[in-house]
Symmetry: C2
Subunit: 463 residues, 2 copies
């Protein structure tokens, strides 16, 4: 098998899509796939295939793919497993460039018929080298092409962005996306690789590495029989794009469940962990950490060294952030003399003016906050900045000054923040800063600190 | 010093409140305190004190507390530090029952004048035994009395609930509250103890243990000189109410910052950790974990044993949750024969029907989900249930059945969930289940799992 970027790209940017098993019944996946395509804004041709219908969602429906009077780039298949081999043959005869096979019931089931079917399908597609996403998947989404080739129309609520997600679990893709919709985190592509007929992690990593819309590659992994090939593929692209992974299936329970889920044993995390490091993949420990880190990776420069400034409008969050970073080996280091002198000019003597800085006394004074931030940004001892500010109506003025970032920031050092306020106060402003890429905001100081640690870990991995 | 529940209760449920240093200028804290009181819905008398004003926010303003023609239960003081001793004397002469001293600039500053002032104040209030919250605090809030005695009006956005928060950091109280407002988590009281003139953690724990509005006591702690007394106080109430704590200041940087923050060295977390366990206080590691755990503690029964059921509509989240719990020593154990037979009737053979259960094949069938949940709830091998469901339009019907919980659940086992969906789909329904106390929902499976582990840890602490 030898699925390359050029093969895959035809599938992710199709001119026409056929839905084999399209339906107008809400209880059928073929209904939801049609809704995803039609509501998702796809500009190419959408062709429902169903011998029992003449029209689905206002679109002319054909009895089979073989009888279509035009070419099909992508076929999405949502028919029962045992019908799929015949359908695949029809697809190939028609010259489709790729298939998304949503149907479950292949090698993840106990019945050996499932594994047999899987092998049959592999034989059918491998010689002509047609890439297949699935089986046993929700599908895939290419947001930049407005292509929602999945049974979940709500993926189209996501913003276009630079994070490419490849996942062995549809549940995790849904969860990550729902969280991302709420937080305005954008994606390039989301791909549920399911049972991986011929498109596995190595193929997807290779594709995403060459995909101009993707800057950060995020993997959710339970287990793969292709671990060695994944590592080799990643090494070949090492340092080209940032790549992070969350791997589950650490205990024997999870491991066993993973086998039943998509047909692969998960394997011990320790083994993966070492291999990940070698290959320049940053291993992470939860859905939240994967999303937080991806979000920062998408816009932040990497810190050049472990020196860190912690600036907080209230001492408590600063202490919490400094704690975590120090335990992880970052240096909440003394500022340069010039920086310290500048801060001493700005803050009164009763303030905690050394790193971590308690900017409390500058509460009402946005000039002071800006002055401190500027001084610290220029300090050669500082490679990354954590900035924490809790706002309410009493001190809302002091965040205004941050708008200087929109003009001045040269983005040579990561600025990770926890700027928090009650609903309505400054939410929009903080979003604006985020969208401009001048800071990355997190709901708690600990989560911001954890991501700063991860940016440092990643720098060490790829240096 | 001997501040007891009866002394404190007069302050938390005052009939009249004087704001000494009230202002109608937005740049003054005295303005925001007035706004908090007036907008917070406090039904008692609010009296602004300011010799330069006749009226503030429509309320008659008096030049000093001594000249008032009526009694004052609570005085809130927002004047510069050096004026405070004289004001305290006036307050005592007037017979106030408690003081919230917002002013900073006491023993947290380098200048020895600060420590001197602190001692002066202590001498003034200690003999008459008048409790003082602060100095160096944002104040305190008693939501059940609609009393917002702080400089942050937005605390009044919080719902009334059973969690009492005592914190050494105002920043952390603000952060926790802003997160809680978004997630509809209710509080009874929020108290920023600041520099702790005579009300420290032991006094507040003793008070909250007797406070009928509080069921869960949450502490944020940097350091206290009263650690031994806190442990003794907590032990004396052990098992009466649930009590959890987040302690920062683990590294030397955080420790030093903590001293500068509220005048106490933080001390090593390990020492606290052991003492916490002895006293039946559950130690936690982040703001998010504190809030997540408090939220569950407020409504959930404790699991009777380590046996855990993991039910997931999609395998991935179930694997992630099972992993974490197993590593922490919980048992994702085989079901009883009766339960397993019932599940085998409900789910087709191709499903993963053992614990952790992949309910995927029951996607469209809310009866199936309910049947499995009921069977597991009645299983003697199961003491706690993790339920994960990712919803989108294709499978939204299957959550409907959960409404049986509203009628039937006897709440003998904790049910922690990650029910996630795009905005608009089922959010309200999940909130309704939460408000009825039949489940506790979290944004990710890992956070739900972490809380299940914490409920188990807590059971072991207090058994």
């Amino acid at each position: 098998m030898d699925i390359k970027f050029s093969d895959m790209n035809r599938m992710f940017r199709p001119r026409s899509v056929a839905v084999i098993g399209a339906s107008d019944k809400r209880t059928k996946l073929g209904f939801h796939v049609m809704k995803s395509l039609t509501k998702g804004g796809f500009r190419g041709k959408i062709i429902p295939i169903n011998p029992g219908s003449e029209e689905i969602m206002g679109l002319k429906t054909y009895p089979s793919i073989t009888e279509l009077p035009f070419e099909i780039d992508l076929a999405i298949v949502v028919l029962p497993a045992k019908m799929v081999p015949a359908i695949f043959k029809e697809c190939l005869a028609k010259g489709v460039q790729g298939i998304v096979l949503i149907t479950a019931g292949f090698k993840e089931i106990d019945d050996p018929m499932g594994a047999d079917l899987h092998e049959q399908l592999a034989e059918i597609v491998n010689e002509p080298n047609v890439p297949v996403i699935g089986p046993n998947t929700f599908g895939m989404i290419n947001l930049h092409a407005n292509l929602n080739a999945s049974f979940t129309p709500e993926f189209s609520l996501l913003q276009k962005g630079v994070i490419g997600l490849v996942s062995q679990s549809g549940g995790m893709c849904h969860l990550l996306s729902f969280l991302a919709v709420r937080d305005d985190i954008g994606f390039s592509k989301i791909v549920g690789i399911g049972n991986r007929l011929n498109v596995d992690f190595p193929e997807m990593v290779d594709y995403m590495m060459q995909d101009p819309d993707t800057e950060v590659i995020a993997l959710y992994m339970e287990g793969t029989d292709e671990a060695r090939r994944l590592i080799e593929t990643t090494k070949a692209h090492k340092g080209k794009k940032r790549i992070i992974a969350y791997k589950t299936g650490v205990g024997d329970i999870g491991d066993q469940a993973s086998r039943s889920h998509t047909g692969s044993l998960a394997g011990r995390r320790e083994i993966y962990s070492g291999a990940f490091s070698q290959a320049g993949i940053l291993g992470l420990d939860s859905v939240e950490e994967l999303l937080d880190t991806a979000k920062a990776m998408a816009v932040s420069p990497l810190p050049k060294g472990p020196g860190l400034a912690v600036l907080s409008s209230q001492a408590g969050p600063g202490i919490a952030g400094a704690d975590i970073c120090q335990v992880a080996g970052l240096r909440v280091a003394p500022f340069s003399r010039k920086t310290q002198e500048r801060i001493d000019e700005i803050l009164p003597p009763l303030a905690l003016r050394v790193n971590p800085v308690d900017m409390g006394p500058a509460w009402y004074d946005s000039e002071a906050t800006v002055g401190i931030l500027r001084a610290v940004m220029g300090d050669e001892n500082v490679s990354g900045i954590l900035l924490f500010m809790m706002f309410a109506s009493a001190n809302v003025d002091s965040v205004k000054g941050l708008s200087f970032l929109l003009k001045e920031s040269n983005q040579t050092k990561p600025l990770l923040t926890c700027i928090s306020a009650p609903p309505g106060i400054w939410d929009e402003q903080v979003k604006r800063y985020e969208q401009a890429g001048v800071l990355v905001n997190f709901p708690t100081p600990e989560r911001a600190a954890r991501v700063m640690i991860n940016l440092n870990r990643y720098r060490d991995l790829v240096k």
